[in-house]
Amino acid sequence: MNNPIVETFHLDWRLMLAQLINFGIVVLVLWFFALKPLSKKMQERARMIEKGLADAKESAERLAEAEKERKEIIQEARRQAQKILVEMDQNANQERGQILAKAEIEAERLSEEGKKQIETEKKQTIQQIKKEVADLVALATQKVLSGEVTEKIDAEVIQKALQEAERELKK
């Protein structure tokens, strides 16, 4: 140990080695007990936060999408309802028209039938009256001819026959 620097500073390789071992212990302990787990935990947290933010963004997007879909569905439903209403209205109008037309035709038909029936009945009545008047005339003639009928009776019979004929006409 003749080197003055080595002597002045008491340089000793064993001491240097001992100090390096100390530093090695520090490196190992700090790395495995503090820095590594700490940075791992920080990374884990950063990942979780990133995931949380991504999830939140995705949720917001989904919510917006769902809201949009909801609005579209409501709009579609309204559109459909409107369409159905218009169709129903059109159908109802059409049906009403048809029913009215049918009713008019029916009424027309019934009216025609009524008229025809009245006409027929009227003809039948006139026919019957004519027949009865003919019978009465024949009867009256027969009574007159047989002398059974006085002037007074004759008048009554005629009156009666006229009343009956009038009643028949009223029917």
Binding site: T8, F9, H10, L11, D12, R14, L15, M16, L17, A18, Q19, L20, N22, F23, I25, V26, V27, V29, L30, W31, F33, A34, L35, P37, L38, S39, K41, M42, E44, R45, M48
Partner: protein, 278 residues
């Protein structure tokens, strides 16, 4: 007691660490004891950090995370990428903490003032039990050598052995001379490449200077601080040393920072190719 005696017994702080105990050939010096104490402090600190690590940080963990994040961001500004920072962090961060704790332990009351008197060559010497770990060239030189060796390992691993060797001994410059002359007819290489070769050799000297500057800067600053505190305490023991204690706290931090930043810079430089680095 003569003048020389007073220097060595009272304020006189030995430039080398004082032996405390001898185990066969191995001398345990007071700076080694402080280093052990520093290791103990760091182990306790690391274990307490480990036990408190939770996904939701609280108190102490918050502080540690803030410090770690700040240190990594600062290192990013030197290395230029987080990937590189994380590769160098296992060396640089413990280095910073180890130097810092050692420096600050040296300022604690009792360190440097509690010890025993010993007789050496007829001179009475005061030998403190503890002395700042970095006030011993054995420690700073060991760390500096370790750092320089680490930079070379990084250089070889990251840039390749051939490229790394050529950074210091540019054999490639000599080998390319015939090709340049006969194929490219470039005769300037006859003058330029030998100069470049010797410039490369200067880098070898630079590596030695790097080791010396790293170790002596730290050792000198810490030793000077200890001597300054000793002198101040001997002038007037009460109040006078207080501002200097704060100064030494600051110096301890700055020196730890300088050593670790320089380490990071050297590691980063070696991880680039020679051309990239310039």
């Amino acid at each position: 007691m003569g003048e020389a005696n007073i220097q060595q017994t009272h304020q006189g702080m030995s430039i080398a660490a004082e032996p405390i105990y001898q185990i066969k050939d191995f001398t345990i010096v007071n700076s080694l004891l402080t280093a052990w104490l520093a290791v103990l402090v760091i182990v306790v600190l690391a274990i307490s950090i480990r036990s408190k690590i939770a996904l939701v940080p609280q108190g102490f963990q918050n502080l540690m995370e803030a410090v770690l994040e700040g240190a990594l961001n600062f290192a990013d500004s030197i290395t230029g990428s987080r990937e590189k920072t994380l590769k160098f962090a296992p060396i640089v961060l413990p280095l910073f903490l180890f130097i810092l704790i050692n420096n600050w332990l040296g300022i604690l009351p009792g360190v440097g003032s509690i010890g025993f008197w010993s007789q050496e060559d007829g001179v009475t010497l005061f030998v403190p039990f503890f002395r700042s770990g970095m006030a011993d060239l054995n420690m700073t030189l060991a760390l500096a050598i370790m750092v320089v060796v680490a930079t070379h390992i990084v250089g070889i691993v990251w840039t390749g052995a051939w490229k790394h060797i050529n950074r210091f001994i540019p054999i490639n410059l000599i080998l390319e001379i015939p090709r340049k002359i006969f194929k490219e007819r470039d005769f300037t290489v006859l003058f330029v490449n030998p100069i470049k070769f010797f410039v490369g050799l200067v880098e070898v000297v630079g590596e030695l200077a790097k080791t010396a500057s790293l170790s002596l800067r730290l050792f000198g600053n810490v030793l000077a601080g200890e001597i300054l505190l000793g002198v101040m305490a001997s002038i007037f023991a009460y109040f006078t040393p207080i501002p200097f204690l704060f100064l030494e706290l600051f110096v301890g931090l700055i020196q730890a920072l300088i050593f670790s930043i320089l380490t990071l810079v050297f590691l980063n430089m070696m991880s680039h190719g020679h051309e990239e680095a310039h």
